[in-house]
């Protein structure tokens, strides 16, 4: 909001502070083994919390690429999600996170995937209360952000992946995500479908590379072209899969 103010957009007429509600800043393991993060947990607490660091290292890594330590000390995980193009989102999508909302008529819960598809609140005035990440002990998680500088930089490309391989190296389960810059991070469902049950052959990866570029449909801006973003997204995901062989 301060960013917009420097650009000349006036503040909204009223601000309501939720900062004193303690339940919104917890991180805990629930009975089913998933990790529940309060939406107002600051990013740095999230990043360094043992449950996140050990249970979802890719999320910890993703959060570590957001802004700077000082900004992460104040910015919240919920804020990053509601921002729409936050760099925590790809990792959370790859981990198949769920969101809980406080609405007029009670708590509502939905997949982050569903929320990100239209970014509409489940009900008017709904407040995001927490994020749940299912237990991910089986598979391999990956996140990578590319910006125009090494760090302290908005993303140009973000990719994330969750993959489970069989002993024979065929794909048992996979979630692929690409985003970056103004591009809302999204799952690459067609590519995922194509990979299911397949072995990671050179041929498959070659086909995947061009399919990733197509399906990610990333758009460019004054600094980096669409083609560059799509190529980088494909390169990063394919090289990661390649490294798993």
């Amino acid at each position: 909001m301060q960013m917009q103010r420097e650009q000349g957009v006036a503040f909204p007429p009223h601000l309501i502070s939720l900062e004193q509600i303690r339940e919104l800043t917890d991180i805990e393991e629930t009975v089913d083994g998933s990790v529940r993060i309060g939406a107002l947990t600051d990013l740095e607490t999230c990043r360094t919390h043992p449950l996140v660091k050990e249970g979802c290292p890719a999320l910890s890594e993703a959060i570590g690429t957001i802004a700077s330590p000082a900004v992460r000390n104040k910015g919240t995980i919920g804020g990053n999600i509601l921002y729409g193009v936050g760099d925590a989102v790809p990792a959370l999508l790859a981990m198949n996170a769920r969101l809980s909302w406080f609405c007029k008529n009670g708590i509502r819960s939905e997949w982050l995937l569903d929320y990100m598809s239209d970014q509409e609140l489940p009900a008017e005035g709904a407040i995001l209360t927490d994020i749940s990440i299912p237990s991910l002990v089986e598979g391999h998680c990956f996140f990578r952000k590319v910006g125009r500088r090494e760090t302290f930089i908005p993303s140009v490309v973000t990719v994330a992946m969750y993959v489970e391989l069989t002993a024979q190296l065929s794909i048992q389960s996979i979630r692929l995500v690409a985003g970056g810059g103004v591009n809302t991070p999204r799952r690459l469902i067609e590519c995922e479908k194509m990979l299911m049950g397949k072995q990671l052959t050179d041929e498959l990866l070659r086909v995947l590379s061009s399919k990733l570029k197509e399906e990610s449909a990333l758009i460019g801006d004054a600094f980096t072209s669409a083609d560059y973003r799509r190529t980088v997204a494909a390169n990063l995901l394919v090289s990661e899969l390649q490294s798993l062989r």
Partner: protein, 751 residues
Amino acid sequence: MKKNIRPDGKEKVTGRLKYLTDLAFPNMLYGKILRSPYPHARILSISTDKAKQLPGVQAVITHKDVPGLNGFGIVRPDQPVLCKDIVRYVGDAVAAVAADSIEIASRALELIDVQYEPLPVLDSPEKALEASAPLLHPDGNVLHRASFQKGDIEAEFSKCTTVVEETYHVPRQLHAYMETEGGVIVPEKGGGLTVYVGTQHGFKDRFQLSRILGVSEADIRIVSSPMGGSFGGKDELNIQPYGALLAIATGKPVKIHQTRQESMRSSIKRHPMMITMKTGVDRAGKLRAHQTTIVADTGAYATLGPAILDFAVEHTCGPYLIPAVKTNGVSIFTNNGVSGEFRGFGGNQITFALEGQIDRLAAAIGIDGIDMRRRNIRNEHDLGPLGQRIAETNGASDVLQSAAAVYAEKKRLLSNQDPWKRIGTGMAITMHGGGLGFGRLDPAGGRLSLKEDGEIEISFGFEEAGQGILGVIEAITTEQLGCAKEDISIVIGDTSLVPSSGSTTASRGTSMVWHSLQRLKKPFLQKLLARAAGIMGMKEEQLSIGPGGIWQNGECRLSFRELVSEQEPIIISTQFDFPVSPDPIDSAHFLYTYSGVVAQVEVDLLTGRINVGELHQSISAGPVVNEMGYLGQIEGGGVMAIGYTLMEDVIMADGHYVTENLDSYLIPGIKDVPFDLQMKAIESLPEEDHHGPRGVGEIGTVAVAPAIANAIWDAIGLRVSQLPVKPEAVLKSTKERGVLHGSQSSNSGAK
């Protein structure tokens, strides 16, 4: 004289130092400047009525309120203080407001109604040179032409066995000083004005302001230090005229501190240039012919544009001996902001192109770049690049030799484990002139006095922008006089207290301080010793100056305080000009510094991103005055140049800034630079040299870009001709030439 702590250090690390933008005065108002929303437009009308009626607004000014000359500019005053009929860039000022608060001043700007008629936008030099282009200034759209020619270029090209031609593009760089422009302008009770605003040349500001305000220079006092960085960017006037006009209009102190966005919009930038070079070598690898055209985008107004083009032309053949040279440069007015002075002063642009040529030629004839340079490098007694005699040193070959050794070592130690990375090593060298050059007024001076409290006061008209001039003054003064740093006090950056020393620019500060002390010390010490001898009843020869006062037989016998006499104050002043070549060649330099840069990069084949892992600079600039200051200048300059090479570009579209703040205009952060920057100072000078230490404010920025470009070529075979190097171009090139594919199959990144 080694690891000296800077005199301004303690106040800086504790946050107690008051920068001029930190100042506050009783009854102080806040100023804001209304700038044009159009890159090029005619002003049809300006109405300030509504703004004036807003409670809390104390003054609204327009062109009608400029009593003197409505223009400024160091070379020629072609930039209106407040535009009357035409605006030529989006930073052009149309009105200004003083109000009780920043918020009210901002609101008042919104209430000023200016009607414009947009005019065609000349957003490139090419457009500005079209026959149908509107004229931005009465004399047309060419600000300046500069050329140099020697030898028979065609004849020499015909002797060449290999000729390389390339066009290089270099970007518009932002100074990005951390403290944006600002300060407070205070009307004094007894009349007159004190201007507390950072600048690199207080006396020049005083002159320009007196012309604008229509008051005598004596009525203006400029306090210009300290500054939170400048790098050339605060040499030209910025907010001073508006603050001064508003202070006069209201009779109250007026503070203006530009936001980063306001700064981005109004400040000068480094000249973008398009440089085409055609260079040939003969069978022996000797450069024979070098033909260059330079097209500089100077933006809407002149400021120092002409001098910068002259400098680029002078440095076109760098430290190389080439029998035939033909250079034509032109600086073109456009509606793209204003280009002006920036650390390196045209040298960075031209050196990137020149060193690119040398590397291309070396590769074309199958020798390595160091060998190529050895075959063509200037020697101690060779004339300067414009055929002028210069202060003779072995700097060029010294830095080449040093860089060659470093290069070999870096190559040897190279290791790479990551299959998706390629590592490359590159080098480049340069020579860079200090001072303003022949035919330019370049006066310097200083003053030594024994104050009533016994302190030895040394004063200069220089400004401290962070470069460490205070440390330099302290080190040179104590060394030359033999006293301790506790014995002296330094006064700079206040036109009411200091002698004129010329501009704090062009790497001239260190030289000028040293030269001043050479002139001041003898008469000053003589007076001190004579007085001491009188008091002590001894002969002068028995006494010497030491820490604390007058020494005899290894003991301090008399303090400086005891030498003070109200009747006969001891004050010694000097005035002289920066040393120039004895040969009257316009703008030619006399004192040069040299650098040899070795860079090592890591190219990410998946993303095209380049990381500079190592940067080593060998510098030849005479003796080191203050080790920490010297190192800081070279390291800081090097990193600024890494930014120039890899990420910095003030992007403009149709005359509007696309990059408006530090979120989109990127300067290097700590992770973008080598963790261990390296530097070697080559201090030796010929015995007969009597010019002492040279300034190193610029040399660290000059040859970094070509060294990195050379390293990129070494890593992946891409020839860079455009800065900043875009990962996109890298990725495209690796794809086209199968570098990535090769890596996938061989799975080995080491070269």
